[in-house]
Amino acid sequence: MTDVQKGRVLPVTDLSLVVLVGASGSGKSTFARRHFKPTEIISSDFCRGLVSDDENDQSATKDAFDVLHYIAGKRLAAGRRTVVDATSVQSEARRQLIDLARTYDVLPIAIVLDVPEDVCAERNAARTDRADMPRRVIQRHTRELRRSLRHLEREGFRKVHVLRGVAEVEQATVVTEKRFNDLTHLTGPFDIIGDIHGCAAELETLLGKLGYVDGVHPEGRTAVFVGDLVDRGPDSPGVLRRVMSMVKSGNALCVPGNHENKYGRHLRGRKVQHTHGLAETIEQMAGESEEFVAEVREFLDGLVSHYVLDGGRLVVCHAGLPEKYHGRTSGRVRSHALYGDTTGETDEFGLPVRYPWAEEYRGRAAVVYGHTPVPEATWLNNTICLDTGAVFGGKLTALRWPERELVDVPAERVWYEPLKPLRTEAPGGQDGRPLDLADVQGRRVVETRYQGRISIREENAAAALEVMSRFAVDPRLLPYLPPTMAPTATSHLDGYLEHPAEAFAQYAADGVARVVCEEKHMGSRAVALVCRDAEAARKRFGDGGTSRSSAAESGGGPTGSLYTRTGRPFLDDDSLTEAILDRLRTTIGEAGLWDELETDWLLLDAELMPWSLKASGLLRSQYAAVGAASGAVLPGALAALRGAADRGVDVSALLARTGERAADAAAFTDAYRRYCWTTDGLDGVRLAPFQILAVQGRSLAGLPHDEQLALVDRLVEHDGSGLLQTTRRLYVDTADPESVRAGVDWWLEMTGRGGEGMVVKPVGAIVRDGQGRLVQPGIKCRGREYLRIIYGPEYTRPENLARLRSRFLNHKRSLAIREYALGLEALDRLAEGEPLWRVHEAVFGVLALESEPVDPRL
């Protein structure tokens, strides 16, 4: 190893805490600069300077080391190698650094610069800032260093390089070593195989099913074993023989399970209890040759506790691993990988209660593991347990990566009686776990398929948290919130603030040829989740709405939900909600959509009428109030003006203007009255569905609107109750002036009769423009009279219109796209059966964005 001529080669792991040890003047800083990146090095002198303006101020030492440890901690947490340039000749100083390395689960490495005291003193004397350092300091350093040398490994350094003398220091080179667990360069494809426990026959069958021929896959795939090859089953030696030969020939990787670990200790002569199936392995191995046993011992000793594979996208270990331990190296990581985390409690069978780490997992890498037998392998938060209890008569399961396909073979028989029944569900259960505040609070970024990363600001999340917590329906029954919609660009036509010509022009500019104009209903947005029955609702959406424990007993419970655009129950009266859901359910059945769409539930986007049903508070306090006040005041004012005019006072202009005001106020009153009618129970309530958002296993948000409307029409046709109302529509070709004119006329006619307006949508639903950006999913064109409710009774007066035309749409448009992308994301996550928190994250995001500051009149 030592070759003085060529210089020593010092291997240093790529993620480690490197501690340079040497007296003042031994050349540590020079050595560090020569072999490491400047940003990897933290020197105590530099930190002394940071806190005291003087690199040699010894009174600042304590604060300086606090800073040093803090910086080193941040780097190690981020997975960056760190070199500490301080004397570190005292064991106490080193102990703190070793603790730091352990905290972040990285290897502590010592490089000792053992340089004669005279050399150190000479070098210091040559430096102006250290010239007056007493000789006794260097003497003390050297003394302490000598005393330390023998203990370094025992102190916990996993590698110790001692360089003796100036020449050895100067000639040494550092090479960076990868960690054993870092196989990110291997991209597979892989077949990851769950706990085998001596089921050699099942293993051979599974390997055959996966396409391996005598341990080799013709397409060059690599098998990865998650451990627990041995114990309990009928032929642990056979399994070991197969796995070891595949690993040896480079056709397989293997991580150790707790059973290998225990068996390995047995082989090394440690005293272990022959329980949990070890006795069987020992007995079976008794018939094997000494060489084979030795091979097994060597194989088990060499196993690495976990692997990071495929560019960091895949982590394989036996018992699961939280993200902060991925690629780390410490005893804690190893024990975590082998045994998993436990809560410290034991269950009624005397077995340790496992900590549900996967429920909290948020990492980007998929974690594939085994260890806990489950009846079915299911994904939870990007983790999957492949132990399907082959030895207990379950099955042996493999996961194809990156295809994410599951392949399994049934156990030939029950080889070993389980101590307790297999858990009936994956860790965390079907719903995942209860929602956690960390899923939604604070500044967050939500990854979406259609629009990348969408940020949510803290103050918006705070407002959404209040509304979600205090007013919303149960989040399990709230799988979607509708996005806001931008209005058409401002019209400059006389008398109009909004006009469809701009909407058609905008889509034409975006390259959208075919659009559908859908009548805007005069109600409130409503989302309806309709399940076939309470049982289906409970099965798919959890027992939302009833207590966890009492749900099963009652057999009743909600059969869906009906909520507003901020997630509040649309109706206060649950029985009325159920009555609406019931009518929808019947209609869906009549239309044959349950079977056709192969689903037990349907998520509908709709408008519920009349507006007065929901907005009655607002109507009374704001709209009707304005009508009442204007009605009370203007006749008197007009009479007074006429009186003055009769007396010969010139008030003609004011009289005329006040007359117009009275007419505008009357038009305003007419406008809001169209949105009000009296309802009694469901009498008078109308629901106009315009999109089926999602069904079991499928988001329908991408279904073209003509097909959507065809489905919706079938609902309306089959509705025998008079609840459902059709959505009138007109298709327009944005490049054809004739067609555009017809669209404008249709709008004029509809709004002329007091209609609210229309929404123009690309027929293709989810559409991107030439640059690949999402185009607006819809643009609203509101009617001239309707806009009085938004911009005030007198907005049509020319001087008012002129000012109101300066309105800024960009923020609204961006908001509409971001909310749309989040909504689509929620639907996709719902359709793919992702856990509740993932769906809720996107839904919550929509609500949070709704509180962004944007002109509320747009």
Binding site: L437, E466, S547, A624, S630, V633, A644, V649, L654
Partner: protein, 487 residues
């Protein structure tokens, strides 16, 4: 917006003297520009027997809304509150009062250079305000004007004659008549009382309102039986200004997105009361009961879940036995007020280190809430919809798992003893339910059973032999350190 002033006269004291008093010629229509639009003064009738002056204010609603534009995205904070659809162009709000004082400023001061003797004389006066927004309704209108010597007629204006079920609007048609007051007095009454009656929550108010109130109220306000209400309402508009400028508007936007009134959603904090806050004896008793129970449990580190405005936190701080007090609420507004109440920013370090306030929600599990000795949920559960109670139950008893949990909630049986509470009504607009003693017991015992707690019940307030105490309290104590099996 519009009002008329009418006087009658005799040949000796002609009604047209009104023109001198107002300093506006009866045969002309005059226009004055104000910051909100144009004020017109004209006389529909003017002869010796009867003379009426009309003040018509043309409000530029668009300008009003756009006033705050340009300060950051979405305009200034109050721009979000400002609606183009509002009653200002019609109703007699504070804007009309401002117009009165600027158009008739000398009349209000009682100055008339041409006829110096006139202002001091009382004369028959009739004031008509066709649409006066009156929070408190006709009753309050009478209470405010009658002590000043007016004969009052205040007819409520219906909201919409097509929808009689909607009832009356907040406007009244006000007619005031008196023969014993001077015009200056009348104008000063209107100047103060119109904005006091107005709801006035979103209106801009000048900073020197106190001086203005003192001047305009001279001679009549000090002796007025409703002086306190008048003063607090008049000046509370300044609070509205502060609120709009400093508080978060995210909730306002969420309410707007859902076509709801802001008050429907932003209601975690009680609206400012008319007078100084007097803690109800029951609230005090509740806090005493809680503190007693906490002391008995030996708790040192305490969570106040749903701390609201921080009254309990304040009480707990007074006892050094509580070494760590954490107030959690979902309402940022409540937390802001709590922080103000506790004067957190001025508290000494030692005291401040004992207390923390942060936003949290019991609809979610929260790692920050683990490991405490005790948690208090005082008057919290009834603010949740029943279907969401299980989530709260899990967050508190399943996840946070403090050794002791105190839950208080109203006893609905006791409601019959509240004289002011109409039968069948809940005690607070946001109460989603109120439980009988049996209902509360059933819930609490089931929760305790599910999560490994024991529970006992403590009455708070006078324990009525028939209907029980006004508040019921459950005291949960952990019996099994690990969570019992949830089904």
């Amino acid at each position: 917006m519009f009002l008329t002033l009418t006087t009658t006269g005799t040949p000796e004291r002609p009604a047209t003297d009104l023109g001198y008093l107002l300093h506006k010629h009866p045969d002309k229509a005059q226009a004055f520009s104000t910051s909100y639009g144009t004020a017109h003064v004209l006389y529909p009738e003017a002869d010796a027997e009867r003379c009426t002056a009309a003040l018509l204010l043309e409000v530029d609603a668009v300008a009003l809304v756009r006033r705050g534009k340009g300060k950051g995205r979405g305009g200034a904070p109050d721009a979000a509150l400002a609606q183009y659809v509002n009653d200002r162009p019609y109703a007699a709000s504070s804007l009309l009062a401002v117009a009165l004082s600027s158009v008739f400023s000398s009349a209000m001061k009682g100055v008339c250079n041409a006829r110096p003797e006139l202002p001091g004389q009382a004369r028959p006066l009739r004031v008509e305000v066709p649409a006066l927004p009156a929070r408190g309704g006709p009753d309050l209108v009478r209470k405010l004007f009658e002590p000043l010597g007016w004969t009052v007629s205040a007819e409520p204006v219906p909201l919409d004659t097509e929808f009689p079920e909607w009832g009356d609007s907040r406007y009244v048609r006000l007619v005031l008549e008196s023969g014993a007051l001077t015009l200056a007095e009348a104008l000063r009454h209107l100047y103060v009382l119109l904005p006091v009656l107005d709801d006035a929550k979103h209106y801009w108010v000048a900073p020197d309102e106190v001086d203005k109130l003192l001047r305009a109220g001279e001679g009549w306000l000090p002796g007025h039986p409703e002086q306190k209400l008048i003063t607090s309402r008049y000046l509370s508009r300044r609070w509205s200004l502060t609120r709009a400028a400093t508080e978060r508007l995210e909730l306002v936007r969420l309410a707007e997105a859902d076509d709801s009134e802001v008050e429907e959603i932003d209601n975690a904090v009680e609206a400012e009361t008319e007078t100084e806050e007097k803690p109800t004896p029951l609230a005090v008793q509740r806090r005493e009961a809680i503190v007693t129970a906490l002391r008995r449990s030996g708790a040192a580190r305490v969570l106040d879940l749903g701390c609201g405005q921080g009254q309990l936190v304040q009480t707990l701080l007074k006892d050094p036995a509580f070494t760590e007090i954490v107030g959690v609420d979902v309402s940022m507004r409540a937390l802001t007020i709590a922080s103000r109440r506790l004067k957190l920013d001025r508290m000494g370090e030692r005291q401040a280190s004992r207390v923390r306030l942060f936003q949290g929600s019991l609809a979610y599990t929260d790692a920050r809430l683990k490991g405490y000795d005790a948690a208090v949920l005082s008057e919290v559960i009834e603010h949740l919809d029943l279907p969401r109670l299980p989530a709260l139950e899990y967050a508190v008893f399943g996840s946070a798992r403090p050794r002791t949990v105190l839950v208080t909630t109203p006893n609905v049986e006791y409601n019959v003893r509240w004289e002011s509470l109409p039968a069948g009504h809940v005690r607070h607009g946001d109460h989603r339910f109120e439980w009988t003693r049996a209902e509360f017991r059933a819930w609490a015992e089931a929760v305790a059973e599910r999560h490994g707690y024991g529970v006992e019940f403590v009455p708070v307030g006078p324990d009525d032999p028939e209907v029980g105490p006004p508040t019921q309290m459950a005291l949960f104590t952990m019996t099994s350190p690990k969570e019992a099996k949830a089904a």
